[in-house]
């Protein structure tokens, strides 16, 4: 309201409750101007009521102002919708801006606090229920306190006894009926329980007091124990519900190949607790392996009479048909036997296939394969025969045919080949500390050229190659033994003994010892010619004497015999020379001796020429191989001029007719006879 001059047109403003002012004086005559003092700020009139009361618009107080401004602030933008109400963690040092609203400084400062609602843990529902129940309890307590304080409230129980009606007679009737029903039901339940007890007792009587569950448990335990036993030898695996094992024998390589698997299942024994011989584990064997087999090796001679080197195609001994296999019978066998036989069959079948493949690769040797027989040329007229035999899948002894030694050697090689790693892996080896002045001069591997690398490369020999060598050696050893037996058996004088010095797979050595009975004393000197050796390799036999003479006999037994007899002749020469060295009884002088001498046909015939002390008689002994020695005697020709050789011809003596049982005795007798004449 503006103060100022009073305007006569407008009614005089009436001022209430405001400021000190002079009360209006209408009576006093005034001179001057009427002044009215008013406040600058007058409250505006909101309305004037019909009773003359004026309502004023109150101006805004400070609180109102703050409220108005607060309503304008967008709190959600500042605070965020996800924060909880209690912002106790808000930084106290946040500065306030002009509006009096704390401004957010979210990312400022190191004490940045992330306001995250706590996750409801696993116990949140429990907490909720607890909270609810506690709040209900609170409510109850409140009610109780309210009821206690007010007089007109009384707590009543839930089960209001007032509402329970007294049982009427009709009720009692029906109750009896229901009682009977209830009793009957109770009796039936009792009957059931007794029935179960009766059954259990009967079963217990049968099973010696053990329940079905317990028996099942025992069987399960037995199954797992046997499975553990099986796992010690066989590879067993479980996939899903199937338990199966692997029959393959390779150490390095694929395992669990489908054709070589066997299934394991539990034999369903009856529930009776009996000890049975059947194992609880049943195994099924692949049908093509459900037979027993044996790989037989033999050395056979190929001549007119050997028409049956191959199996008779009509014979059914070793025939096999897949349809004949009865899976149930296979399952009935004990797994220890059936798995062993099946794996053996697999091994031998694979080996036979490998042998056949190797035989085809060997170009220098002819081989024939038919059915399950492999024939390969060994040497001369001999063949090496491999046969894969099949037998029914039953328990029992199998008669082993062929050469047992070769069978064993083949088996050992098969297993050896499986266990050997033919490729040598690369590895780092430490070099020795070098004291060379050029300490960095690592001459190392030397830089081999291609030819040297090829020379040093190891070429693995196949099983067939090795078997051929071993079989050839075996055949030669057998032959050598026969020759030795023949010679030693037939020779009474001198006595020949033989023994094997070394017996190997590819090389053997035999020693012969020649002994003359009663003349052992003469052995005290040189023993050189009393022993000779025979070395047997895969290719042939060589007779060796101690002084280094080698007689090659290849594979000819007649030659071996001849060579041995020749060595015996040499022995006889040396024995002769030894006997005549006796100074007192038979002193003779050895004039000449030649073990390499030949007779007129060119055959070796060692000889020795002696003469007696008186130089009157000379003796010539010619030892022919395999025959009696030739003895020639004549008068000693001292001087060719005085005595013509024609006048003193050589007289032949018969060895057989000489006095004495053995050669040495005969020699002794002859020399003593000719000593003085």
């Amino acid at each position: 309201m503006e103060s100022g001059s009073a305007s006569p047109s407008s009614p005089e403003p009436i001022v209430i409750d405001e400021g000190p002012e002079k009360p209006p004086s209408i009576l006093a005559p005034r001179k001057g101007v009427d002044l009215v003092l008013e406040a600058n700020d007058d409250w505006k009139i909101q309305e004037i009521g019909f009773d003359g009361v004026e309502k004023y618009l109150k101006p805004e107080t400070f609180t109102d102002q703050v409220g108005k401004l607060a309503r304008r602030v967008e709190w959600m933008k500042l605070v965020g919708s996800s924060t909880p109400y209690e912002n106790a963690k808000i930084d106290q040092t946040e500065e306030l801006d002009d509006e009096g609203v704390p401004s957010r400084k979210g990312e400022k400062g190191g004490t940045n606090v992330e306001l995250v609602t706590p996750e409801a843990g696993p116990w949140s529902s429990v907490a909720k229920y607890l909270h609810e129940s506690l709040s209900q309890l609170n409510v109850l307590l409140d009610d109780l306190s309210v009821m206690k304080n007010t007089d007109y409230m009384k707590a009543l129980t839930v089960l209001d006894p007032i509402t329970i009606a007294e049982p009427t007679p009709e009720h009692i009737q029906t109750m009896r009926g229901t009682q009977w029903i209830w009793k009957r039901r109770a009796l039936q339940e009792a009957v059931q329980v007794l029935d179960i007890a009766q059954k259990q007792r009967q079963q217990a009587l049968r099973n010696l007091g053990l329940s079905v569950d317990y028996i099942a448990h025992l069987q399960r335990t037995k199954f797992f124990e046997e499975l553990k036993e099986m796992r010690e030898i066989w590879r067993v695996r479980k996939t899903g519900d199937y338990v199966y094992g692997d029959l393959s024998y390779h150490i390095f390589g694929w395992k669990y190949d489908t054709p070589n698997l066997f299934d394991i299942s539990r034999r369903s024994l009856s529930n009776k607790f009996e000890t049975s011989d059947l194992s609880i584990i049943e195994v099924s064997v692949p049908k093509d392996l459900a037979r027993r087999s044996m790989l037989v090796v033999k050395i056979v001679k190929d001549d007119i009479e050997s028409g049956d080197l191959f199996r008779d195609p009509k014979s059914n001994d070793y025939a096999y048909s897949y349809k004949e296999v009865d899976a149930e019978k296979v399952k009935a066998l004990h797994w220890k036997d059936s798995l062993k036989w099946a794996q053996n069959t697999l091994l031998l079948r694979d080996t036979f296939n490998t042998l056949c493949k190797d035989a085809i690769k060997l170009r220098n040797r002819l081989s024939i394969i038919r059915d399950n027989v492999l024939l390969i040329r060994l040497f001369d007229d001999y063949l090496l025969r491999f046969e894969l035999q099949w037998f029914p899948f039953e328990a029992g002894q199998i008669h082993e045919e062929g050469d047992i030694y070769l069978n064993r050697v083949l088996r050992e090689m098969i297993i050896g080949f499986e266990c050997t790693k033919f490729v040598r892996p690369q590895f780092f080896c430490s070099m020795p500390i070098t004291h060379l002045p050029e300490s960095l001069d690592l001459r190392g591997c030397g830089g081999f050229d291609a030819r040297q690398i090829a020379d040093r490369a190891v070429t693995p020999r196949s099983i067939l190659d090795r078997m051929l060598d071993m079989a050839a050696h075996r055949a030669l050893v057998n032959m050598m033994t026969e020759v030795a037996e023949l010679m030693c058996g037939s020779s009474v004088d001198p006595t020949i003994q033989y023994k094997w010095l070394h017996c190997g797979r590819n090389y053997s050595k035999m020693m012969f010892q020649v002994v003359s009975k009663d003349y052992d004393l003469y052995l005290s000197g040189h023993r050189m010619h009393h022993t000779f050796f025979a070395s047997v390799s895969s290719d042939g036999i060589t007779i060796e004497t101690k002084d280094g003479m080698l007689i090659k006999c290849d594979r000819d037994s007649a030659r071996v015999l001849y060579a041995c007899q020749y060595c015996v002749c040499i022995y006889q020469v040396s024995m002769f020379a030894m006997v005549c060295r006796n100074q007192w009884i038979t002193p003779f002088q050895t004039l000449y001796s030649n073990v390499y001498a030949l007779d007129d046909k060119g055959n070796p015939a060692p000889n020795i020429l002696l003469c007696n002390q008186a130089a009157t008689r000379s003796i010539l002994f010619k030892f022919h191989v395999g025959r009696d020695p030739e003895i020639l005697v004549r008068r000693f020709v001292v001087n060719e001029k005085t005595a013509k050789p024609e006048e003193h011809p050589w007289k032949k003596l018969s060895y057989r007719k000489l006095y004495g049982a053995t050669f040495c005795k005969k020699v002794d007798a002859l020399l003593s006879f000719l000593r003085d004449c």
Binding site: C445, G447, D449, I453
Partner: protein, 198 residues
Amino acid sequence: MGVSWVFEAEQTAKSVERILEGIGAELMGQFQVDVIPYNPATPSTDYATNIVMHHSKCPQSTFSICPKTDFRVSPKAVCDRGFDLILGKLAGGLVIDNAGKIEINGNEYNIHSDWTVRVGTATQGTTVKGVVVEVEYDPTVIIVQCREMMAEFIKQVFNKYHETQPEIFKITEKPERYSTLDTMWQYLQIAAKLRKKT
């Protein structure tokens, strides 16, 4: 394994081959020699360049020589081909210098089964640097036994290169063995000379 004499020929490979075929040489096949320098990553006085070589005669070997002033003090090594792979991992210290790699490719001839002569063209990248001939006498590994004979052989066949004998021939007095590393040293010297040529 034998004693080798490597020299640079001042004629084309074809003409050398014609000479050899004239004396009855039989072509045996191809051969390849390469000489690859490996330089230190940062040039320094402590580490010198290392030269790695391969020869098709020794297909499984790698030869490494760090050439210093004298043959005897240069660190040398023979290793299997895995050495190249190991050097690849050491690229932090030694970096392969493909620009400086010299390859010698050519034919190998055999004369009367004792002598092997290899004639090859040396190339660095795409540029042909020269012709290198290696004469190997197979029966012996003792240098003092055969160096005169080898000089005579070269004089007879080529009539030119017999005067400058390789270093190893000249410095060896005692009957010491010759090894393939000595051949590679000769190749190294020749490759260094060829690199300097344009």
